[in-house]
Amino acid sequence: MRFFSLFSRIGFSNSYLIGPDAGGDAVLIDPGVFDAALLQAVENNGLYVRSILVTHAHNAHINGIRSLLKVYNAAIYANQPSVLDFPAHHAQDGDVLPLGELSARVFETPGHSIDSLCFLISHMLFTGDTLSAGSIGRTRDGYARGLLLESVRRKLLAVGDEVLLFPGHGPPSKVGIEKLYNPLLGEKL
């Protein structure tokens, strides 16, 4: 499996590209920007962006979609019927999305935004702005924070300590590391 982490200076967000070793259909998570680095990662490795997974429809995570769809005929998966006016497949809690050689298990994790999703692909969990290394996403109020913490504890922390965690912002982590060192996960609801 080929895996690339790409950083956008616009919005300081991470995008992730996953594809087969031999090239072919690839999955792109949260294309905050469509720039030369992303294009090179796709083209230089014989990949074709066939699926775009959106953890939530904030600009820093979707702005690249408009340009991407001019180059690649990709399906969008999100917790909304459309993203930037492009139709999206509605991904919901418990869904398993068939993505060529890969599949993604969907977790709804509302709190940072009402449409927040996380995706588990193989041993990698993509958390958007729900959970990052030592932190959680910003929320509008205490209710939303409670929702976020509840779904993180009940769903994400249950996937296994050695599962790799790739957030929308900041460095990677592991689920077990967050259990031990994330100071916000111990908050009372």
Binding site: F7, H123, A133, S135, E162, P171, I177, Y181, N182
Partner: protein, 197 residues
């Protein structure tokens, strides 16, 4: 990226070492197996997409090595030289580093969380968007390094030197610091939610 496989030994839950069916405990000769993987090609060591949890490296020169997409969780590194090495998207969490030298290295999107790091140098490094959550650092220098977006949340730093560092978007919240020298560093650009000790 490495892909974990279970050890073939019945009842063992550990991950197998890359290139082998057995884990570090059940491999007949783990030292020679790892030594084979560390053989330089074109003058430098390249470790790509390898799963090598629990390995122990002592007095090894990994200068200019390229380590990408690897898991070296719970590994032990004693007097290993990582001079000008490049470590990308790799997991060196819960590891032990004693007397290691990373001077001039580029560490990016990698995880050192929960590690015990003592008598090590990270001088003149590009330490960009790395995870140092919960580390215990003793007599460690990060002088003249760029620590952009690197997170030391929940870490215990003792006798650590971070002089002349760029701390833009670096996080130090919820940690403990005892004799940490930030002289000439951009502490106004870092995130400290408690007073500097």
């Amino acid at each position: 990226m490495f892909e974990p496989r279970p050890c073939a030994t019945s009842g063992c839950g550990r991950p197998a070492l890359s290139g082998s069916a057995a884990c570090i405990v059940h491999h007949a000769s783990p030292l020679s197996h790892v030594a084979g993987l560390l053989r330089p090609s074109a003058g430098r060591v390249e470790l790509r997409d390898l799963d090598l949890p629990g390995i122990r490296l002592v007095d090894i020169d990994l200068s200019k090595a390229e380590i990408q997409g690897c898991r070296l969780t719970a590994a032990t590194f004693v007097r290993v030289r990582f001079l000008s090495a490049q470590i990308h998207l790799s997991f060196l969490d819960r590891a032990t580093f004693e007397g290691c030298d990373f001077s001039g290295a580029i560490l990016q999107n990698s995880v050192f969380a929960g590690s015990e790091i003592s008598d090590c140098s990270f001088s003149g490094c590009e330490i960009v968007q790395d995870n140092f959550l919960g580390i215990h650092g003793v007599r460690v220098t990060f002088d003249h390094s760029n620590l952009y977006a690197t997170r030391f949340i929940g870490s215990l730093l003792e006798s650590v030197s971070m002089r002349d560092c760029s701390l833009m978007r670096a996080h130090f919240d919820a940690g403990h610091r005892n004799v940490v020298d930030f002289r000439s560093s951009s502490i106004n650009e870092g995130v400290f939610l408690e007073p500097l000790s």
